[in-house]
């Protein structure tokens, strides 16, 4: 029998948009006007030289006005999708379009110790355990270091972080360093693991997260990293962080315009340094300072989604943030904020979504919170699937066969298909009595036990001994 049916259209997933394309265009024009008219300060000579040579106007020593044409030109050479490999060089993440991948954040000062419940300074072993957990969790796609190790020499703490990530997961890793030299060493380590400079460039399994003071002020380290990594062809994010009400006007649109003008300036520089250098846009926009508490909220609803829309409009991959909370505990607020933020980023199609498991506005982390986020992501993966309304899934023949009076529980159709439905691992569905029999545990307790089980059972594929030694040698002899 022929099965032809014209004009079929299937929604493959739910989808949302907050900025219309017209609004994105207006925002883009605003950024171009800022770059041409107001200009940005750049505290790095090579950046100034490159821009000047390309036709930008430099006044007052380091104030650069960038013509729109340079921005348009940069869009014609920058890749629209960034592939990150795993540690073994196999493609693992294709960041672009509406594909979402999730990972942890970096550099929390504190940990809520899941064994003792204590709130304390984090140490190197916390990073080892956190990254091991990332390696094991199905819905965590990339790792950032999560914690600051308070028990190592502080000025080279970032080298220890990179080493711990390389040793404890095969998933892609994204690094953050304070100084430029730290980024140089992180790349050296990654090159050793990849088997050389060319190998890493061809199959990058790592990317660098760079923060910039504001869209209008580009600090030296950020520019140094941008130029160095662009030259190397290693993917990077370039994220100015003006705060509405303090270092930018308080409206979401203005803060986004200021920051994204800076993102475009970085884009131009990256492509001037090397055409085709991979470059990732920020996926949140419109940071604010909470004017009561003076905290910069990570899970602020108003800074979500529009930057993802803007990146989509420009056809660029985005690096966004979700699964984070202002709560000081793994409590109801933490779960609600994590779920809401993960939900929005999945729905809007942020590409590399980081900060999963953050508490206390980026100052504290918790392993059980990460495990809870993994469960939320599992739920979301099931939710985001489209509905199959096909002849087969409608199963009209079986409906007819069983009729109004029959049972489906023991039918072949059920047997064949029931496992395709979603089952929770941590969310409790059992009856009250059964839940009681299992110890009357709440989600936090179950997540804590799950952390212990994973840490006891999961074996990370180790780096070859000589490679691990060569990586460690960099920690012992860091670039000054």
């Amino acid at each position: 029998m022929t099965k032809i049916c014209s004009n079929q259209y299937a929604m493959n997933s739910p989808h949302a948009q907050k900025l219309s394309d017209d609004q994105s265009q207006k925002l883009y024009w605003a950024c171009l006007e800022i770059l041409e008219h107001t200009g940005v300060r750049m505290y790095e000579q090579e950046a100034l030289d490159l821009l000047k040579k390309a036709g930008a106007v430099v006044t007052d020593g380091n104030r650069v006005r960038i013509p729109s044409g340079l921005v348009e030109k940069a869009f014609s050479t920058v890749p629209k999708s960034v592939t990150l490999c795993d540690r073994n060089g196999n493609p693992a993440i294709r960041a672009g379009g509406y594909r979402s991948y999730f990972g942890t954040g970096s550099d929390c000062l504190h940990i809520l110790d899941h064994r003792t419940g204590e709130y304390r300074d984090s140490v190197l072993q916390d990073i080892v355990e956190g990254i091991t957990l990332c390696d094991a969790l199905e819905h965590i796609d990339f790792a950032m270091c999560m914690f600051l190790p308070s028990d190592v020499q502080q000025d080279i703490a970032d080298r220890y972080q990179m080493e711990a990530m390389l040793n404890n997961t095969t998933k892609p890793v994204i690094f953050v360093t304070t100084e430029f030299s730290g980024a140089v060493d992180a790349v050296k380590m990654a090159e050793i693991v990849a088997g050389g400079e060319r190998e890493l460039k061809q199959n990058p399994f790592t990317a660098c997260y760079i923060n910039v003071t504001t869209g209008l002020r580009h600090n030296k380290e950020a520019l140094q990293k941008l130029l160095y990594l662009s030259d190397k062809g290693i993917p990077l994010t370039y994220i100015p962080s003006a705060q509405g009400g303090v270092t930018a006007p308080v409206t979401v649109a203005a803060t986004m315009a200021v920051n994204n003008a800076g993102v475009l300036a970085g884009l131009v520089l990256s492509q001037l340094k090397r055409e085709g250098a991979p470059y990732i846009f920020p996926g949140w926009g419109g940071n604010m300072l909470d004017m009561k508490t003076t905290v910069q909220p990570y899970c602020d609803p108003e800074k979500r989604a529009q930057a993802i829309d803007f990146a989509h409009y420009l056809g660029m991959p985005s690096f966004s943030l979700a699964g984070c909370s202002e709560s000081k505990l793994v409590d109801q607020q933490a779960a609600a904020e994590a779920a809401l933020s993960l939900f929005t980023d999945a729905l809007f199609g942020g590409n590399l979504v980081h900060d999963v498991g953050y508490l206390e506005s980026g100052l504290c982390g918790s392993l059980p919170q990460l495990v809870i986020c993994d469960e939320i992501l599992s739920w979301l993966e099931a939710f985001m699937k489209g509905v199959d309304v096909s002849d087969e899934s409608l199963a009209l023949d079986i409906i007819d066969e069983v009729g109004p009076d029959g049972q489906h529980i023991n039918s072949d159709h059920t047997l064949k298909n029931y496992k395709k439905r979603w089952y929770p691992q941590l969310f409790e569905r059992a009856s009250y009595n059964v839940w009681q029999r299992k110890g009357s545990k709440d989600l936090g307790q179950r997540a804590t036990e799950h952390v212990d089980t994973i840490l006891a059972e999961h074996k990370v594929e180790p780096l070859p001994k000589d490679v691990a030694n060569a990586v460690h040698a960099i920690v012992e002899k860091p670039t000054a």
């Binding site: 000062l109 502080q154 508490t293």
Partner: protein, 212 residues
């Protein structure tokens, strides 16, 4: 009997025009500038400070109150006050330490100290120890405030304190430190005189430190 309560309430509302006219009528009634300052304006700002710490007021509102108060002092009271009546609560040098560019919190603390009556010299971010030393000397400062948001730059606080000691200025200035990774323990470890976790308590600490 002057209506100080009205002045206090108006200050808390941040209504500069009304505050100016109330202060003018009080002066016309023969109330001294000193009394208006102390029983009206200062009393009002104390309440503003408390409200801020109780999360009862937003930072921009606090700054508006401070602006209203300054307008009254500069436009009406200053010529009438005896020298000494309106002396600053203290002279403060403030900056973010070398290597650190986080300045949002530091700037907030600077503004809040200013609105509490301190004379504040805000040096900016990424400040070398020698620069602090130079400014302390130059401005004859009472308090040195340092901010650090990175664990990697916290040690610069100790380096700066050592530089201040070496320059023979440690007895002249009290040292206050703050920033997300900084703690009371750390302050004690490096020999600072105080630590505060937010702008509200920073003001309280600065006032208290001036009395030591």
């Amino acid at each position: 009997m002057a209506d100080f309560q009205n002045i206090i309430d108006t200050l808390i509302e941040g209504d500069q025009e009304k505050l100016l006219s109330l202060a003018q009528s009080a002066l016309d009634e023969g109330i001294s500038a000193k009394e208006i300052l102390e029983k009206g304006l200062m009393a009002g700002m104390d309440i503003v400070g408390e409200k801020m710490e109780a999360e009862d007021m937003f930072i921009p509102e606090v700054l508006m109150c401070a602006r209203a108060m300054t307008a009254v002092i500069n436009n009406l009271l200053k010529p009438l006050l005896a020298a000494g009546d309106v002396s600053a609560a203290g002279k403060v040098i403030i900056g973010t330490v070398k290597g650190d560019l986080h300045d949002i919190g530091k700037n907030l603390v600077a503004m809040m100290l200013e609105s509490a009556g301190f004379e504040v010299y805000n040096l900016g971010a990424d400040i070398l120890p020698d620069k602090y030393v130079e400014e302390i000397k130059d401005k004859n400062a009472d308090i040195l405030c340092m901010s650090a948001l990175l664990t990697t730059t916290m040690p610069m606080m100790k380096v700066t304190i050592d530089a201040v000691s070496e320059a023979g200025l440690r007895d002249q200035v009290k040292v206050m430190i703050g920033g997300a990774p900084v703690s009371q323990d750390f302050a004690e470890q490096i020999g600072a005189d105080g630590y505060a976790s937010d702008a509200g308590s920073a003001i309280r600490l600065a006032k208290e430190i001036m009395k030591r």
